[in-house]
Symmetry: C2
Subunit: 335 residues, 2 copies
C-alpha cells in the first residue's frame, strides 16, 4: 500500500491546450519544469492532427528533459472547454471545434499512461494554488481575462467543481439585467474581444488614437483594418502611453471587473483573488489598481477589503504546471 | 473517548433570535421539536432585558418539553447579524441595536451549558440541509427573502463561512452597477422593504389598487397611511387576486431574484437553491415559478437548469431547528 502511494512522485507531463497554441512541460517531483515544448494548435486541421501534434509535443518535451516516455508517470491536460470531469471528456470547445471528445481515453491509450483532463482555468487556478500566487492559502478565486473570461475556485485546498462539475463560469455572470444579448455579461464587457469591439466602435470619435497606427499596419483580405491586430500587448502599450480611447475603455472594464469580483467575494468570503490571462498580464499594475479600487467600494462587509487581489505568478506556465500538478494529486488520491 | 463522543445526543435548545420575535424550541436526539416557546424580542428595552427574556423563554420551552434545564446539553442561537464565528459574538445587529456583543460567552454563563452562535440565515440553511428541503444533498444555497435578504451556503455538507466568516451576504450583491445608493443591490430591489417602497412610489398611477384599502386601515401618528401595514401576507393576498400594481412590482423582483440566483449558480454550480423568508413563503408557487423562469433563461451552461429551486420545508422553524442542530454538530466535532 505504502508502495503504491509513492507511485505518482516521478516526472509528470502537463499540457495547456489552447485554441492557438499548445504549451507542454515535464515537471519533476518538486514541480520544477525540466523540459518544455510548444506547438501551434492548428485546430482547423482537425482533431486527429491536433492530437498527433500533442503526442509529438509531449515526446519532444521529454527529450528536452532528457527523459524517455517510459519515465513519465502521468499526464494532465487543460482544455479550453467545459469538461466532464468524471469521463475526462471535452464537452464543447468552441476554439477547437470539438464536441464530446473523450480526450482522457484517447490520450491515455496514445501515451500508455494515466491522463487527467480538466478545464483550462481550473488547472491554472490549481497551479497558482500549489506553486503560485495562492501558495499556502486554502481558498482562492482565479479569473483569467483573455480572449474570453474564465474562472476557477479553490475551496479548502481543493478545486471546487460543484455537483454538476461546471463551477467557475465567471465570464457568463450577467452584469446588466436589462441589456440585450452580447451586452449583458462580464465577458461581453471585459474580455479582450469586448475591449477591442468597444474601441472599434468609438474610434471615429478619437481621430488621434494610437490604435489607428496599429490597425493600419495590418489589413484584412479586403484591405480594411483588422481588429485582430489589437492584441493585449498593443492595448498595454497604448494604455501606458495614455491613449485616451484605450484608457477610457480599459478603465471602464476594470471598474466592472472589480464590481464583479466584489459581488463574488461578498457571497463567498474568500481571501485571495488571482488575476491572469493576456489582458491582465499585459496591462499589469495600473489595471489591477483600478480593479481593486472598484472592488473596495462595493464589497460587503468592509472587513472583506482584506481580501487580496494579486496577479498570476506562474503566467503562461500556470495552465501547463497546474495540469501536471492536478494529474499528480488526483491520481495519488485515487490510489 | 467513545463516551465523550456520545455526549451531544440528548436534548438541545435552539433559538431564532429575530428583530421582532424570538422563537425557541427543544429538540430531541432525532431532531424532533418536543417543546416550544415564543416571545417578543422588544429590542428597544435594551440588551439585558432581551437576554433575560431569552433565558426565560428557554426555561419555558423546557417546561413545555417536560424537561428540566439540567437535561439540556447545549444551546444554539441564530442572530440577525454578522457573527464572529470564532468568538461567538454578534458583530452588528441593526435590528437589535447591538454592536460587538459576546453572546456565546454571556449565554453559556447564564445557561451553564455550551452555546453556539451563528448568523440567522446560516442556521436556517443548516436546518434545511439536515432536516428540510436540502436533506441528503451535499450542497445548497439558501436565500431568505424577508424585510431584508440574507443567504447561507452548504458545501460538501458543511456550512461555508469562508476564511473571513462572512459568506452568504447575497442581499448585498450589486445588480445595477450604474445606479445610486439604495437602488443597486438585490436587497434594494427584492426585499419586502424594497417591494413596499416601489409600490408606494407607484401608487398614484394605480387608483384602484387594493393596497389603498390596507393602507387606509392603519394610519401612523400623523394620520397618514402607514406602509408597515403592507406585510408579506397582504402582498400575497393582493398578488393572488391579480392586483396590477402588486403583480407588476413582485414579478419584476422575481425576475431579478432569478437572475441573481443564475449568476451565483453559474459560478458555484450547485444542485439546490432553497428559498425561504416571509416574502417567498407568503407568495408561494407563482413567485417561485417566475424566479425559476428567469433563472433558466440566464444560467450557464444550460446543464445547470437541472439545479432545483425549492421552497423552505421548515418554514418558521428553520432557524430554531437549524441553530439547535448546528450546536449539536459543532460541539460533537469539537470533542
Amino acid at each position: 500500500m505504502a508502495d503504491r502511494k509513492q507511485r505518482f512522485t516521478g516526472p509528470i507531463v502537463g499540457v495547456d491546450l489552447g485554441g492557438t497554441n499548445m504549451s507542454i512541460g515535464v515537471i519533476d517531483e518538486k514541480g520544477k519544469i525540466v523540459g518544455r515544448s510548444r506547438r501551434k494548435t492548428k485546430a482547423a486541421e482537425g482533431r486527429e492532427k491536433v492530437i498527433a501534434r500533442m503526442v509529438e509535443g509531449i515526446e519532444r518535451a521529454c527529450e528536452d528533459a532528457k527523459l524517455s516516455m517510459k519515465d513519465i508517470e502521468a499526464a494532465g491536460i487543460g482544455a479550453p472547454s467545459a469538461v466532464d470531469w468524471d469521463k475526462g471528456s471535452v464537452i464543447h470547445a468552441g476554439n477547437l471545434g470539438w464536441k464530446k471528445v473523450p480526450l482522457r481515453e484517447i490520450m491515455s491509450k496514445r501515451l500508455n499512461m494515466p491522463v487527467v483532463v480538466d478545464n483550462d482555468v481550473n488547472v491554472a487556478a490549481f497551479g497558482e494554488s500549489r506553486l503560485g500566487a495562492g501558495k499556502n492559502r486554502g481558498d482562492l478565486l482565479a479569473m483569467w481575462i483573455g480572449t474570453g473570461i474564465g474562472g476557477g475556485m479553490i475551496l479548502n485546498g481543493k478545486l471546487w467543481r460543484g455537483p454538476f462539475h461546471t463551477a467557475g463560469e465567471v465570464g457568463h455572470v450577467v452584469l446588466f439585467p436589462g441589456a440585450g444579448p452580447g451586452h449583458r455579461t462580464l465577458e461581453d464587457h471585459c474580455s479582450r474581444t469586448a475591449l477591442v469591439r468597444s474601441m472599434m466602435m468609438l474610434l471615429g470619435h478619437y481621430p488621434d488614437s494610437m490604435l489607428r497606427e496599429f490597425l493600419n499596419r495590418e489589413k484584412d483580405d479586403e484591405g480594411k483594418p483588422d481588429p485582430s491586430a489589437i492584441g493585449s500587448g498593443v492595448l498595454a502599450e497604448c494604455y501606458s502611453k495614455g491613449d485616451p480611447l484605450v484608457r477610457k475603455v480599459v478603465d471602464a472594464s476594470a471598474e466592472l471587473l472589480g464590481l464583479t469580483i466584489a459581488n463574488l467575494i461578498t457571497v463567498m468570503s474568500l481571501q485571495t483573488v488571482v488575476l491572469g490571462g493576456g489582458v491582465s498580464e499585459a496591462l499589469g499594475k495600473p489595471y489591477l489598481y483600478r480593479v481593486r479600487e472598484s472592488f473596495e467600494r462595493v464589497v460587503f462587509p468592509k472587513t472583506l477589503q482584506r481580501c487580496e487581489i494579486v496577479p498570476s505568478q506562474l503566467g503562461d506556465d500556470a495552465g501547463m504546471l497546474g495540469a501536471a500538478l492536478l494529474a499528480r494529486e488526483t491520481l495519488s488520491e485515487e490510489k
